[in-house]
Symmetry: C2
Subunit: 634 residues, 2 copies
């Protein structure tokens, strides 16, 4: 086995490593933090010209796929592009309503951003446009500051400004490679948040579905529900009969599309069919159905420039920035998640940081051309992928269809009833209420379930930003709790092996006489050093009491298995030093087994290693036990 030679060599290797320059270590650490995926590895050992081409393809993925584009690909992309356009037009109008914006803004937003994304984006299946959650959040947050029906121009200005800041924030995250910020919205948090938002959005649609004119603008569940009930006198029977019929139709087609993926086109075509049908009905029976509210006049024409409407000073700038950051991070989370999902289904990779940059630039461009926040939509991307999209060209086809609509078809929407927009929104968001996943969370991870519930009720009862803040807080608290109260346990040897395992988990594991071997499952940090000290002393006390009660032999040595101690800070170092001193006073030997390299370095730098000496640190628990036992016998 060569126990001692191993240990000495271990020590010498470690001393050698200490000579590594500080700068080199810092460089390594920073590259791990910011460039974990080594994005430039393709550039190594290439000619200068090749590097230029690679850089061009890196920043503009269009140069990557365009040269190999073929007619076969185009055919698939045209089919899928037309399919998502049929979904994007009614959804665009509906989501703009959700954000309290004129319906046409929703169509503008389905034209410019998809074109920008098709040049910069690296996902092949992302269908770009407005999405429900970001629309809802923008609508709520801006409306709280400036009620949209009081000052429509200011509201519009703030919406474009928020979109601009959302873009700046997203692009900055991508440029600074801080993509991990969105990881702090865990899946559990998002599940609860989206569920809560979907409930609120659906209830808000009672306004359109029942035909209420004086509806609350608040976003909590109680005012929304009571507003729907208190305005019973405004309910219009033509509206709710027609509304619930179309809602039933849309939900049925959605169900069919989900059960039989081959019939995805049923659910994809249903919204447009409903819009056409309902518009026809209202136009034909106009005289009898005057109780039904319609969209009204819409201007023909392309996106007007809106850079002159950006609002960079004054009282509401703070609201715009805050709204921009929150809608920016939410839409980014959705866009990146959608991109990653379809990339992994189709066996390619998307670079999160590059995608952020693309989405950010697309929103900045959007804010200057009368668009509000856009990102990759989950529902439309799924339809896109099902319809056989092969490249981002399907986005270009979609944008072209929207262009034709904007130029020629706008008057057709004059008699489109609002109730159909409400039904489309409900159908789109209802899938976000995913109680089955919530039940699964409860089964697997109780704390994740708590995070999910708190964001759900936070959004439902208080407000969108506070709901999100609570949920992120719970998630961070979970990490801190894991570090603050780590698992510790007594290890025993599994007979016939050199393996040591927790004696509570493995019945075969046998304790070693005169030793107590402790495993610590966390870095030793300021947040847990006091706890660990108390806990280790308690393990020792319990072991001594047990020994005294049973065979009367005495404890001589405490071995701490440091395998899972992945880091240590100055408070942790002080704790180890203190513990060593305390145990020495009680004539107990303290020994460390398998400290990681970084922990070893810090023990050395703080001169604590010296007090342990060569006999105090071993490569494995087994080695420590064997060596110390044999020294007692000698």
């Amino acid at each position: 086995m060569g126990i001692n030679s191993n240990r000495v060599e271990h020590y010498s290797v470690f001393v050698y490593r200490l000579r590594k320059a500080l700068l080199q270590k810092l460089r390594h650490r920073l590259s791990e933090v910011f460039f974990p995926d080594d994005p430039l590895h393709g550039f190594k050992n290439q000619s200068r010209f090749r590097k230029f081409i690679l850089a061009l393809q890196f920043f503009f993925p269009i140069f990557d796929w365009a040269p190999n584009y073929s007619l076969t690909l185009l055919r698939s992309d045209v089919v899928s592009g037309l399919t998502i356009a049929s979904l994007a037009i009614p959804q665009g109008i509906s989501y703009a309503k959700l954000a309290n914006l004129p319906p046409i803004i929703g169509l503008y937003s389905s034209f410019v951003p998809p074109l920008v994304y098709s040049v910069l984006g690296s996902s092949k299946h992302l269908a770009v446009g407005p999405v429900s959650i970001a629309s809802l959040v923008m609508g709520t947050m801006l409306n709280e500051a400036v009620p949209y029906n009081k000052d429509k121009v200011l509201y519009l200005k703030l919406a474009f400004t928020a979109t601009f800041f959302a873009g700046v924030f997203q692009a900055a995250l991508g440029l600074l490679r801080l993509g991990f910020v969105i990881d702090f919205l865990s899946k559990a948090t998002l599940l609860g948040f989206m569920g809560g938002a979907a409930v609120i959005v659906s209830l808000q649609q009672l306004k359109g579905l029942l035909g209420i004119t004086h509806f609350t603008t608040k976003m909590q569940i109680i005012p929304v529900l009571s507003s729907a009930i208190n305005h019973r006198n405004e309910w219009s029977w033509q509206t709710y009969v027609m509304g619930f019929c179309f809602l039933a139709f849309l939900l049925t087609t959605r169900h069919v599309g989900m059960k039989k993926p081959k019939l995805f086109w049923v659910s994809a075509a249903a919204p447009l069919v409903s819009v056409i049908l309902s518009t026809l009905i209202v136009t034909l029976f106009r005289s009898k159905l005057h109780g039904i509210a319609t969209i009204g006049h819409l201007d023909k024409g392309l996106n007007p420039p809106s850079s002159n409407m950006l609002y960079f000073h004054g009282h509401f700038l703070g609201v715009a920035i805050k709204t921009g950051i929150i809608t920016g991070i939410l839409s980014l989370t959705e866009g990146i998640a959608v991109g990653r999902t379809f990339a992994s289904l189709n066996d390619y990779q998307v670079d999160g940081n590059k995608e952020m940059l693309a989405i950010g630039l697309m929103n900045m461009a959007g804010s200057c051309s009368s668009c509000y926040v856009t990102t990759g939509s989950f529902s439309r991307s799924a339809v896109n992928a099902n319809a056989g999209a092969k490249t981002v060209v399907s986005n270009i086809i979609m944008a072209s269809t929207v262009l034709v609509t904007l130029l020629f078809l706008m008057p057709l929407f004059h008699y489109t009833p609002n109730l159909i927009l409400a039904a489309i929104i409900i159908t789109a968001v209802i899938g976000l209420i995913d109680y089955q996943s919530a039940i699964k969370l409860w089964k697997v991870d109780k704390l994740d379930f708590v995070a999910c519930l708190s964001s759900f009720f936070g959004v439902l009862m208080i407000s969108v930003p506070i709901g999100l803040a609570i949920a992120v807080g719970v998630s961070v608290f979970k990490i801190l709790l894991h570090v603050t109260r780590p698992n510790t346990g007594v290890l025993g040897n599994i007979p016939g092996t050199q393996i040591y395992q927790n004696v509570n988990r493995y019945k075969e594991a046998k304790r070693i006489p005169c030793f107590v071997i402790l495993g610590i499952d966390a870095p030793i940090y300021f947040a847990n050093s006091t706890y660990l000290q108390e806990r280790i002393l308690r393990w020792i006390r319990e072991e001594e009491e047990w020994l005294a009660a049973n065979n009367g032999s005495s404890l001589k040595c405490v071995v701490i298995d440091m395998t899972a101690v992945t880091g240590i800070d100055t408070s942790g170092l002080a704790m180890v030093k203190e513990l060593k001193k305390m145990l020495e006073k009680r004539s107990l030997q303290l020994v460390l087994a398998n400290p990681a390299g970084s922990v070893m370095e810090k023990l050395h730098q703080s001169n604590i290693l010296e007090s342990f000496g060569l006999e105090g640190v071993y490569l494995t628990v087994d080695e420590a036990v064997a060596d110390i036992s044999s020294s007692w016998k000698a």
Copy 2:
């Protein structure tokens, strides 16, 4: 070796463990979070009467030591009690000044709280009374809301109210066993914070030392310095000559006391000697020294009740609560740290949560008897221990001495000059500027150093609460960074052993052909699951590239060593599932080695374990490599 039998047994043990009831697990987890020290272990297997006595001793430690109290102990306690009283009287007056309170409040605060503590407290060496940091923070925070020289009565009311809330907060932390909250103020943070506060406090004393009458009440370094310079015309030469002489005297005695611990009485007696000397000088040469400001008239008599001055409604309640919580947590941190330090030096233990309750009740009692925030003072406790204190009786002796002072000696302080209070404060706080420890932090842990610097400059440049918030933020960020960007590395076998170690750290470690063995040094959580997936894929890509460039053999199996993966959540589980799927598509086998029990349970509950099967999980890396290699050969 019995590789397979081990693995099967491992699995069966684990399935057995799953049957443990949820409630039992929750109970275990909660007891680990709130009762890690098992405070009631002494109560087990005792008669009912004995349990009653133990409970009495548990809540009132005085019943523990009082029955064994002896004359020898009393003699030591009287000597040490008188010594700390000689320090407490001048410091009490000075610190009250620091909190912008009438000097007599400082003496009141050195009378009631020590008596309460002597009944409830479990530390034998803690010397209780006002302390510099809490006084400074209270003075700053309240003065920002209500300038003390504008409305003295309101200011006093707020001070007592803040003290009350500090006590409530402290007692609540103790009762709810949330003592770990103070652990979030790491040693590095406190070092920076105290250093910054000490610099500010010392500079503020220029007012007293130079005799300036119109001094700024701001607490940032720049306004304080410029105020001292701009009011040059108010400098009084009698004041600063005398002030700097006494300051030099106090600093010299402090230095002597530190160099030769046996001469601790020199530094302990110096403040009282200076007060007596300076008062004598000013009284004798009153006519010539009229430029020197003195304390003025002080009322004789005991603490008046102040419960009627508590302020529970109105505009400033928020300020009082905030001040209470911040001074409460700061004074708690100092008190607990001092208690723990002297306990470990003298080989007994203090229970953090019980101490919090004692300090909290003492402050609540104090707020009703004209005292402001008190706790265990580091400097006075050191003197107490050096002077031979054996029990909390030394606090009773100190309180009795203060009582005599309050009843009979108050008129003697009429001509005590303010400059001497300034000199005493500077001498007391100068030791908090501990640049040597800061240098050590830089050497051992760069991020701890950053936390230290940010709290230092935060306090110096912005404000006390923001400086603290920044520092806590940096500390929490450090934990999050550790989890968000964990260490990963390729492991290799150390020839002749079953040990696998990082190949970059251990030159002897040899890679195994056709395998890539990865070690992950963190729990797999939402905050790092995306990163880990990218990083693992990069490790595999790099290994494949290396193999392709070197010997042309191909990679067949990826082993993940889960030893240091101390936890997993739903995002992490999804990542493992996804990774397995991605690698299967590339015909690579994914195998887990040594997952901890809790990780194993979650893999099982989420049905991911099934996809791995019995051949996908091993007890050690060595076992996995041996078993898979032999299956290839067969």
